[in-house]
Symmetry: C2
């Protein structure tokens, strides 16, 4: 803490008003969307450019002061919590689109820009950035978390959509990884090493992202099912056949009830698939029709599809607000969310097991999934202070993670490790977790970058 104080004195001299120790600012950075205990940093820095980030790193490196990068705090696992104090580096001022390369289908941005802001800037170009985790997260945060979301089934995750990075290392050195070329076999893939490293290996100061052309046509569809199994089997079949779905979302019956209430919709209260197709006019029609046929085979009914933008937007807005819709069923409750990802052959059983386990505890099972990827979420609502309910919820989440590992899956498809999933790292990765620690030690020997996360060093 004494070290941190010395660092903060130097940072104040560097940044002036843009180094804040005010209670209100610190408080804002003491928690994210997750349910973990508040952990205030000692100070919050607001750098304006890469050079300042480098200077911040150099100062903190000299003093052994922790640095925790911060986007907009939409993390669900506590990635950006300053669990060992130190300086939170808030990238709010580094939120520009630096250069759009429309012919190359890529763009260079600063990390504090959000994905929605980027898509607004891209409107005139006919291009868009497809990755959509729901929350309007910053692109720096999404990169650091290896985020994905509803469109990953078609466009991949952040690992597939980050071409190049500028990164400030623990000692303040600035490196560039990757290039604007679409592919390369030159050197170790430091870009992919940084993507998903949650601020523990470097501070991302510039991101080159792949873009997509707006599809000629887009259609959205919904379909009702009698049970989760039929919905998931429909998706498995569609994946097998190779229908190039742009979005394929499972929403269970209780979530539909909550969404109906929150978004003023009138869907039948049963498991649903929400879908989207991108392509030519003829292509999206063909995909929708194929999908309707497959759904019918598994007893799916009420299949409706539409190419109208307003209907489509209403559908995805409702999906994105699902978390708030669930929380609205129990005002004031904490939301415990957990996400896992399994090989798709294991998905139907995994979801069934989760629903059963949750229901057995007398809790409403809110289950949603990016099911084309084998990725699903459970949200559990707990009254603040109800330690018994919290224990029950944590137990449910724990068993869901354990089952995912048992069938060859992973404890997080997209939310990341943060503080919430550290307890599974040894089990999921075995000896490879020690290799991760070796890499951390090589790049951040002082363990100042988001210490206490991802790896166990000290």
């Amino acid at each position: 803490m004494l070290n941190n104080a010395s660092a903060i004195t130097e940072l104040k001299a560097l940044l002036g008003e843009r180094l804040s120790t005010s209670g209100a600012v610190i408080d804002l950075h003491a928690h994210d969307e997750a349910h973990f205990p508040r952990t205030p940093p000692d100070a919050v820095a607001f750098p304006n450019d890469t050079a300042e980030v480098s200077e911040i790193a150099k100062i903190c490196h000299r003093h052994g002061c922790p640095i925790v990068p911060w986007g907009v705090g939409t993390s669900l696992e506590g990635h950006a919590l300053a669990i060992r104090g130190g300086v939170t580096v808030d990238f709010t001022n580094m939120n520009k689109v630096l250069q759009i390369y429309d012919t190359d289908l890529n763009v260079v941005v600063q990390p504090g820009l959000t994905r929605e802001e980027l898509n607004v800037e891209l409107r005139a170009t006919g291009l868009f950035f497809p990755i959509d985790p729901g929350a309007n997260a910053t692109l720096g945060g999404m990169t650091a978390t290896r985020a994905s979301g509803t469109t990953a089934v078609r466009y991949g995750t952040m690992k597939d959509n980050v071409l190049a990075l500028e990164v400030v290392l623990a000692d303040g050195r600035i490196i560039r990884t990757g290039s604007r070329a679409k592919k390369s076999s030159s050197g170790y893939d430091l870009t992919r090493l940084m993507v998903g490293s949650e601020g523990t290996l470097g501070l991302i100061t510039e991101i080159t992202l792949r873009l997509q052309g707006q599809p000629e046509a887009t259609s959205a569809a919904v379909c009702e099912f009698e049970d989760a199994n039929s919905a998931v089997n429909t998706v498995m079949m569609a994946v097998q056949i190779g229908i190039p779905m742009a979005r394929i979302e499972f929403i269970d019956a209780d979530s539909i009830t909550a969404i109906n209430a929150y978004s003023k919709m009138t869907m039948r209260e049963c498991p649903h698939l929400f879908m989207e197709f991108h392509g030519s006019e003829a292509g999206v029609k063909e995909q929708s029709e194929q999908m309707a046929e497959i759904a019918a085979e598994f007893g799916g009914g009420g299949f409706q599809w539409s190419t109208k933008a307003e209907e489509r937007n209403a559908l995805w807005k409702a999906r994105h607000n699902a978390y708030f819709a669930m929380k609205a069923t129990k005002p004031g409750a904490l939301g415990i969310t957990t996400d896992v990802c399994v090989p798709i052959s294991q998905l139907a059983k995994a979801i069934d097991d989760s629903i059963e386990d949750i229901a057995a505890q007398g809790i409403t099972p809110f289950i949603l999934g990016h099911v084309g990827d084998g990725n699903y979420h459970a949200a559990l609502l707990v009254e603040p202070g109800d330690t018994q309910a919290m224990k029950t919820a944590v137990g449910i989440a724990h068993r869901m993670n354990q089952r995912a590992l048992a069938v060859g899956g992973t404890v997080t498809g997209e939310h990341g490790i943060g503080v919430g999933k550290m307890k599974y790292m040894a089990e999921e990765h075995g000896e490879a977790w020690n290799v991760m620690a070796d890499i951390k030690r090589a790049l951040d020997p002082g363990n100042i970058l988001n210490p206490g996360k991802m790896v166990q060093i000290n």
Copy 2:
């Protein structure tokens, strides 16, 4: 060398006849497809399983003896040359398909299996492994080189198609990276760190690969152009519009002449695009027609497309044999090939510059490219022993690499670094190259894994 001798004695005790020091065997492993001087290893090991690979690593680790992994030797940059002697580990005996997970669209294989052998094994499943670098390389070699080829424009490179790995580290520890889940945000992406690391960070002993469903329909097409520029502009427009091409290959006029002679074809001797489309019956028709329209805008003529398998196979066989077709124009000549990758907006000029530079030296400019990715190759033929011609060819290749870097590209889209491109690592990666060395030191402190490649340690 004394250290190597002690290691070899122990390896002989471990492997018996499967540790060879015979001249013929060593000679086979002293060169690959590239033009570099022969560098014989001290011995060649043929392990049968992961446990043996681990024992080999432990022995070599104790004695500081270099280990160089070997697939089938199709490398074009000398990756598998034992430039510091030691033991070449030949994965010929580890060539099995371990498990096909057809519902999950993935497969677990050993590294010595070739991509064609895999596709033969997959025939009954309706699935295929799409990555196609031309040569019938091993999947271990393709993983280690981050290979790609004609289909990368649609299906990505090895980085996009390797889900998980088993790797033996320098000290013999065995780790598993990734999982069979389609995505994960759990931990550092060690899978992607190993993909493309050219045997310098670990020995790959098991690979989990993504598979694709056989498309309902496939069509191939060819189109003629007056110049390279028009062909490349056609591709740039098709990429912009988002036509989901499965293959899009540029072949320059002189290469067409060579292919006509070698593969007994009668194409007009002018720049061509070879294409392939995957999708539904209606989809491939639509794509082919759209492509024909775009080509016509850029003066493309003689557009022909076909869904007949035999015509398609003949076309791609001719393309894959292009390298041999070129070499056949100058029997006995060495082929100097170099590949670079640039942002696609820079591709037309890059190819023009290369053609001009080569022609100015009085050499036949054989240029081919996976142009949908901005990736192209030059092949230069040199008589063995003609040092002046070799110097000229190396100069051409050098300028091509320099120009690629100057426009934000990379010195290799797919062939890798090996010994041929080490000289560009500092320029392409700057300070990031030092970070690569830090990672190498962390994982292989004794520098026994393919030493002298990728990074500069000692």
